[in-house]
């Protein structure tokens, strides 16, 4: 074999690799090691009433949406109207984790924009966010009635994603990824 064939072999290898990379799936779907596992345990004060606490067992018994949000997060504002719609349609119980935020501002935000959450946990230092593997707000977890995380979405929710990723998993028995 002459040396002029080597570039061809190298490039062919690179191309095979790129095809595999492309088949590998959506690069934006950051993997969550929590999918298919029980939701990480936590116990936090609720946002509005610090004396009352909220934890993993609060979600039990039904599908639940756990939405990580903050007032400083621009995209949270963008997805907020859709969360309100979901809440108004009673599509699913929605819980919030108010992440690395100021309690005063967070309550003011809910007063101003409306509150889609049955309750929001107040995670001031982001400790629970670390347990849940939060990369950045907004992030939304879908938890099944047994308390297992079956899906995680990064970025704002919208009707298309809701139908395609969430509703499908709830009615279809929720195949874990």
């Amino acid at each position: 074999m002459n040396r002029f064939v080597w570039p061809l072999i190298a490039v062919a290898g690179l191309l095979v690799f790129l095809v595999m990379g492309l088949r590998h799936g959506d690069p934006r779907a950051l993997p969550s090691p929590f999918i298919g596992k029980p939701a990480p345990e936590f116990e936090l004060p609720t946002l509005k009433i610090p004396e009352v606490s909220i934890g993993t067992e609060t979600f039990a018994g039904d599908y639940a949406l756990v939405n990580v949000w903050a007032t400083w997060c621009v995209m949270c504002r963008a997805e907020h109207p859709f969360l309100l719609e979901l809440a108004a349609a009673r599509a699913i119980p929605i819980y919030g984790i108010n992440w690395r935020d100021s309690r005063v501002e967070a309550i003011r935000w809910l007063d101003d924009l409306g509150d889609p959450y049955l309750a929001s946990a107040y995670d001031a230092d982001g400790r629970v966010g670390i347990d849940w593997g939060v990369y950045g707000a907004p992030e939304t977890f879908l938890v099944d009635p047994e308390g297992t995380v079956i899906y995680k979405h990064l970025g704002p929710l919208d009707p298309v994603i809701w139908q395609r990723e969430f509703v499908a998993r709830m009615s279809g028995g929720g195949q874990a990824e």
């Binding site: 002029f4 570039p7 061809l8 191309l15 690799f17 790129l18 990379g21 492309l22 934006r28």
Partner: protein, 654 residues
Amino acid sequence: MLPEIGQFSLILALSLAICQTVLPLIGAHRGDAAMMGVARTAATGQFLFVAVAFGCLTYAFLADDFSVLYVANHSQLALPDLYKVSAVWGAHEGSLLLWIFILAAWTVAVARFSSGLPEAFAARVIGVLGFLSVGFLLFAILTSNPFDRLVPAAVDGGDLNPLLQDPGLAIHPPLLYIGYVGFSVAFAFAIAAMISGDLDQKWAKWTRPWTTVAWLFLTLGIALGSWWAYYELGWGGWWFWDAVENASFMPWLIGTALIHSLAVTEKRGLFKSWTLLLAISAFSLSLLGTFLVRSGIIVSVHAFATDPTRGFFILTFLAVVVIGALILYAWRAPSMDSDVGFGLLSRETFLLLNNVLLVVATTLVLIGTLSPLVVEMATGEKISIGPPWFNVAFLVPMIPLVILLGMGMHTAWRTQKSDSWVRVFKIPAIIAVLLGVVIPLMIYGRISILLVVGCAAAVWIVVSSLILPVRSLLREKGTAGITRSALGMCIAHLGMGSFVLGATIVSAFGVESDQALTPGGSIEAAGYEFHMAELRNVQGPNFSAIEAVIEIRDDGDLVATVLPQKRQYLVQKSPMTEAGIRAGLDKDLFVALGDQLGNNTWSVRVQYKPLIRLIWLGALIMALGGLIAISDRRYRVNVREKAVSETGEAEATA
């Protein structure tokens, strides 16, 4: 109606591109003059129809035609007209159309200026370019039609990404694409030479100016992108080793290697197969860059519309083009190498080392760009390879490269006598080492090995680049001066020296500091006092902003007043940072507003960036060098001297 005309024009352009590919290639094979004659006509026609399509899309933007999906997604009534035009290439579909338009323009330029080439050769070049047009037109028509309608039409559009609403970024993509796509000409020349089996020194002479023009546009495009990232992203850095930046940088590195290797092929008839391989690689890397940016295979801050179908299409096209070219290469290249020798100490040796080091650098950047993907596929983990790795890895080939650069310029072709050679470098080397110590120590007050190496290398390049032009200026009347092409080389290398100096100093002595600031308050950084005199609201056409009036003082003397802004765009709701910069050749003082901390308190990022302008100035000088080099007489004579069959005589200097 106009969008449909645009779409129809694209389809007609595709039909003509098919003619432009098939007929001239068959004609060249059979020696049929009539079929070869189709090449120029078809290329011109294809260009006209692509231009019509491009015009239709531009018009749709200017007329706020929100019944076109692409316009509705990327424009808005209140968007200033300049950005309505630049929004044409603000996202995937339109930028692909721009790519096609530029490819067609290059083809027409080749058709127009190729009258000095043998008819069969010109037909093959235009045919190969036509094949590339077919691929991209199919890509646009099948997967990324910019003229898709939106029914019912939107009342107002979704606005252009605010990051792109900037004059610098408005012209960054066209410059970059002219460069990227320009390498397709060198590619087509390489393929045509391999099909015909003839590759002589004249081939290199024809290819050189085209390659240099593409390279100089790519240089400008990359520099503009870097400048934009510096003032617009608000981080104050000038290069981030982002996957998309790398995608444009790799063709640049290989293009630079190609320019040098072409010089050897033209002057000495050596490195032929190597030059061919570089010509194929430069364009292949342009295609790879397109693929990486548009398939979404790599996550990046530039994130273009990502769509796996598009990824597959480009990958298939990439495979056809590159594999096809390399099969041809494996078949034809072995018969092309000449066995002319050259001495160990000769310009050929230095250019060979230049090529090896540039290819090593490219390979390192490629490994750094793709390895997150490898790791993810192997382990499922997302990792990112950051600037620290790239900075170190890239320096390894770069330090020897810049040192050898100064020597190579003053080494003769074929063989160089070593005693006269050493004498040339005595003074530049002394100056370089001296200034390498003096600049950091005396001006900036600190010194380290890397600093001395960087500064000495920069001075070394500058001084050795000046020798030839200065000698030419001081020469006796009536003797021959420096040729344009040698002058261009010296100036381009001078630009490199400017870049190295700027990059060294700003990396070592740049100061960045984040502090809290309220109106009436002051902070200090790098010996300057930053005083916030006022905080006010301002209104733009499609944004509202908070603007700080910051007075910068040095020992109580007012140096500058800068006006950084935090903008809120009305439609896309995203906050944008507009830095306030006092730009100077010696230093930049940079103020950017961060987050609002309290009622009137802002986190403010202030930066002191000495000599950062030399980085972009260096790139500008390099591009200027390229421009001077292609104005050399022998390229103009080339057009006229039709079919004179003398081989390019080796001159003593480049």
